[in-house]
Amino acid sequence: MGQLSIILARCLQAIPTVFGIVVVTFLLTRALPGDPAAYFAGASATPESITEIRAKLGLDQGLPRQFATYLKDLSRGDLGQSISTGQPVAAELLKRLPASLELTLTALFLSVMTAIPLGVLAAVHQDSWIDQLCRFVVTAGVSLPTFFTGLLLIYVLYFLLGLAPAPLGRLDLLHVPPPHVTGFLVFDGLLAREWATAWSAFKQLMLPAITLALFTLAPLARMTRAAMLQALASEYLRTARAAGLSRGRVLMVYAFRNAMLPIITTLGMVFSFSLGANVLVEKVFAWPGIGSYAIEALVVSDYAAVQGFVLSMAILFVLLNLAVDTLYTLVDPRVRIDG
């Protein structure tokens, strides 16, 4: 089978998954405690007005009817209205998603750039100081929760040293957001040639990104080290050494490319859970992402918003897994035959 048809088959396999997610998110949000109608009606509502609101929201109908309506809206790209803000959920998520993605992608970039060289060096120089450093970073990264490292970084870098700006969102008050192109403020600033804005957005981004990166660094570094050690002990590496291949070629072409396979898998997993870990980091840094939006919605049983959030996250996961599978197919020829 060709690579293309395998990738196509994976895409087809994603369709039932997405449908399953739609069903599960729908059922889960209905199972949430609290009555959205009662909350929406306010503290001074009478039973009659609550019933009226319930009918207006369509919550008085049976679950199958509600689900049919939900599907119909969904097919038009309508995720419903948020009860608390009155805004369409889809629009709000779209507005906030770039903020979350900017943060996550930057954090992931930072952690990949540190973790992979660290893991490779630790494996190549086993038991040296760099291996000890790797072990220390991994332990620290796993054991320190993000809200703690976030607060620690704010305390040291902002409060004590004054190196970082105040942790208050994506831009300081002096700057106006650049025209919307990608939704990533640093990029948009650069595209609009507003250097000061871009720099300000970059400074705001650094602390939360480092916080998140420290968290995602640990599993990546550990997997890189383990995968490299395994590749270094393999028989094909012995063959490569016995053939006199240069050290660089042995390490990069023979060992690292094989070690890539588990690293890619871990990367996909880390990406997924860092989207979840975002929620705390966004809270600490007042970052206007979808994580903080979802928490606020959950607290007030804003079911449409929660449903929209869970669904869009799930679809993001599916896309991510698809990307990981595709990447895997490109790296490992063995995957291509047993599709």
Binding site: L12, E235, T239, A242, G244, L245, Y254, P333
Partner: protein
């Protein structure tokens, strides 16, 4: 061939000592090893596992792993002092002057790099080709190791090639730069006999035509005897004997060499001959002929197993679930029977369907069609998943190929042996079970003090005994032995084979002995079935099949067994009509 001794040696190793750092302190793997290889000579190093034969060659290449260290000694190769050459010099020598081929060729190749590219890497590294000509030269190297359709194979990945083809690629990599010395570390272990013959002849032809020297490291004395000019015998890190091949076989000086020669099945008349003279028990009593009325214990008829290629989702959509002829007939309508107390050998090369057959009889796999009657009951009527609950399960047991992998690493020997007692016999009472386990251990010759050890604390032979004790715990009537000695050293194999013969004589069990080793089958089996490509090629009494085979394929198999000219043979060497 003492004529080699008059030339200056190509490689001279003197008093080499190698140590490995372990958690329990340093372990000496090679103790003052001294050997020489002349130009054009083929030297064999023979020894059992742990004898230090591989370590010596790794030390010569200076590719010992991190824990290994050359403590003392001198190694000189064509005037270069290998023991204190720096890494740059060594890395230039490796692959260009000294090359190495390995056991398990598929693992020895980079799994995600096309084989042609792996040959190119070596050519470019040693400046034998520029980037423009590399491809052409790599294809030429593949042709030199007689790979057909080399231009197409250039793009193949190791997993797409057979074991023998992979070994050819490894040889192509090793010989790409025409080195002066080739070190072959168990190059054919795990390959079929006919493939082994092809690979060894390829190595011999290529090295002879280039005037290269070869260092053949093997546990198989027969192989070394057939291909080497001189043989070094190693035991526990020491060289115990070093002789011309003929002298080694006709007048072995060291007792260890004598024991090794004796354990090699080639020369043995009966199974007892494998054991040292002072340890030979009397011959096992001949089993009484099965009563004519009892009928066969196992009867297999028209057994078929078809494996459908699953194909991808798209493929299934395209064909709408219909079978498309991608099916592989692993077992293709075979039939045979086993009488009570009989021992039948099932031989054939990898992929011939012998393991699939044994898995179907064990009810680990469902047959596609056909019948398996055991003690008069139709086994195929019970689905594989439900057979564990069948009362017949107790009467049918199996000993697996790898004694280590087939034991639960977290269960002690006693727990492993007790497992079938608990699950199949429903025994209760810790005291009773322990007593039974100890009795079984005594039957297989496993000392009771080893019963509380975990598999990794036992030797290969001890693990094999645990596996056998576990299999005979429920007093089965048919024991399927799937290459039970393939992973063992010859001296341990000798003991285990004798143990199996004794157990059979005592309990009257029947054996289905699945093996690729005709020499072992000859010693243990009454009857032999030869399989190829899912079908039975030939069947009959062992004596007749091995001395006067009818089928060409059987002749081919027999001819492929390495046999040093200086050993007596008991397997007929029929003339083969090479097609």
């Amino acid at each position: 061939m003492s004529l080699f001794l008059h030339r200056p040696p190509l490689l001279a190793v003197k008093d080499l000592c190698v140590e490995f750092a372990t958690r329990r302190g340093p372990v000496t793997a090679a103790r003052s090893v001294t050997l020489q290889i002349a130009k054009g000579e083929t030297l064999g190093i023979v020894g059992e596992s742990g004898s230090g034969k591989s370590v010596t060659s790794y030390a010569v290449m200076r590719i010992l792993d991190r824990a290994g260290r050359i403590v003392s000694g001198a190694m000189e190769f064509g005037g270069i002092k290998l023991h204190d050459a720096n890494e740059t010099v060594m890395s230039d020598l490796r692959g260009r002057e000294i090359s190495m081929i390995f056991q398990n060729p598929r693992a020895a190749l980079n799994p995600i790099r096309p084989v042609g590219k792996q040959i190119e890497d070596v050519l470019i590294r040693h400046a034998r080709a520029t980037h423009d000509q590399a491809r052409e030269k790599a294809i030429a190297a593949l042709e030199r190791v007689r790979i057909r359709d080399a231009a197409r194979r250039y793009h193949a990945y190791p997993f797409e090639l057979s074991g023998g083809m992979c070994q050819r690629v490894v040889i192509a990599i090793a010989l790409a730069c025409r080195p002066q010395l080739l070190i072959a570390d168990e190059p054919t272990t795990g390959l079929d006999v006919t493939t082994q013959k092809a690979v060894m002849e390829l190595v011999r032809d290529l090295t002879h035509s280039e005037g290269m020297s070869t260092l053949l490291i093997t546990h198989d004395l027969g192989l070394a005897g057939e291909y080497c000019d001189r043989i070094v015998v190693m035991e526990q890190g020491r060289v115990v004997e070093q002789q011309d091949t003929r002298a080694l076989f006709t007048a072995p000086a060291h007792p260890y060499t004598r024991r090794l020669i004796r354990s090699t099945p080639h020369a043995a008349q009966t199974i007892r001959d494998l054991l040292p003279e002072d340890q030979r028990p009397p011959q096992p009593p001949a089993v009484a002929e099965p009563a004519a009325t009892s009928g066969p214990l196992l009867e297999v008829r028209a057994l078929v197993k078809v494996f459908e290629s699953p194909g991808g989702l798209l493929h299934r959509l395209r064909t709408r679930g219909k079978s498309t002829g991608h099916a592989f007939r692993a077992v293709d309508g075979i039939g045979f029977s086993i009488a009570r107390g009989e021992s039948v050998g099932l031989v054939g090369e990898s992929g011939c369907g012998k393991s699939t057959t044994s898995a179907m009889i064990m009810r680990l796999l469902d047959a596609t069609s056909g019948s398996i009657r055991f003690k008069g009951h139709e086994l195929t009527a019970v689905p594989a998943g439900g057979f564990a609950r069948s009362p017949l399960r107790r009467a049918l047991q199996m000993v697996f190929q790898d004694p280590h992998e087939s034991l639960n690493p977290r269960a002690t020997a006693a727990q492993s042996i007790a497992d079938p007692l608990l699950r199949l016999d429903g025994m209760t009472g810790a005291g009773d079970i322990r007593a039974r386990v100890e009795q079984l251990a005594a039957e297989v010759g496993l000392p009771c003090e080893l019963l509380d050890r975990l598999p990794h604390q036992l030797s290969g032979g001890q693990k094999a005994r645990v596996g056998i004790a576990r299999a005979i715990a429920t007093r089965p009537e048919l024991l399927i032995l799937d290459e039970p000695t393939a992973a063992l050293d010859v001296s341990v194999q000798a003991v285990v084979l004798n143990l199996l013969a004794d157990l059979k004589a005592k309990s009257g069990m029947s054996y289905l002995f699945v093996s690729h080793d005709l020499e072992v089958v000859r010693l243990l089996c009454d009857r032999v079935i030869v399989m190829r490509a899912g079908r039975i090629v030939e069947e009959g009494p062992t004596e007749r099949i091995l001395s006067a085979p009818g089928a060409d394929y059987t002749k081919e198999l027999l001819a492929a067994i390495p046999r040093p000219a200086h050993l007596p043979h008991h397997v007929g060497r029929a003339k083969v009509a090479w097609a």
